[in-house]
Symmetry: C2
Subunit: 152 residues, 2 copies
């Protein structure tokens, strides 16, 4: 059976959200998976996601990092409490801040890869770092602060 | 005659880009205008731009800020050199870094407004601050560093 992405267990974002909602027909529908202490996501841009022709738009990069890290942070929060993802009460986290350093242009001739790690996690927040790679080369680096919210 | 947006004079982003390209049929097609020392942009999200239902996605907010500030920075760079926008050689700037603080959820029942200011500008870079408002209330605040690149 195919491995299910973290998004399948993140309510409500994993269904509805522009970046990570698996049922948002117009959105990016990213899929994130744990690989040891890293969480990875591979995503293929479409030609219209460009800035200049052939170069991936910086806002698309920010969106990928934000949504990947949000889902990973929520997954990590369940793990930190020794709970199964999706068990009740649901853990909800929202983005407190997002910082992206654009290191070099990101080519669009293939998929890009996101690799995130949890740098810090407490009962109130999580801080994650995230690299974006294209063709195996890091082109952008981000840090996302996710803040715990009340369940919806 | 209708006022032309800053994007009309920003090559090549103002035509092609996902966030600000006026000819990108799939993108956000934002339009930015100077109003005194502020540059403003009004944009209406579609329902699929949500995070949780009814709340604007953080990556969309980051995209709006990045593209609005990029075009405003380029416009300000022409102004700083006493040149008309679009005159040759073209001034090209790319995003060096982007920081967004999400202050509260951004509702999606109407247009959002961006208000950017140039905080610092030199021959090599520009630093801009940008507020996002919904219903007149600031919901996110950003800072964007734009770096001068060689003309394409």
């Amino acid at each position: 059976m195919a491995e299910r992405p973290i998004q399948d267990f993140v309510e409500p974002f994993g269904r509805t959200c522009w970046g990570c909602g698996q049922q948002n027909a117009h959105g990016f529908r990213i899929r994130s998976f744990w690989r040891g202490e890293e969480a990875v996501c591979t995503w293929r841009p479409e030609p219209h996601h460009n800035a200049a022709p052939g170069v991936l738009n910086g806002g698309v990069i920010a969106t990928l990092m934000d949504c990947h890290c949000a889902c990973v942070a929520i997954s990590a929060a369940y793990r930190a409490e020794g709970r199964e993802m999706g068990s009740h009460p649901a853990i909800v986290m929202v983005t407190g801040s997002l910082h992206v350093d654009y290191l070099r242009p990101t080519p669009m001739d293939g998929a890009v890869e996101l690799r995130a790690r949890v740098k810090e996690i407490t009962a109130r927040k999580a801080v994650l770092t995230c690299a974006l790679l294209a063709g195996g080369i890091e082109t952008a680096r981000g840090e996302v602060v996710m803040v715990r919210a009340r369940p919806a």
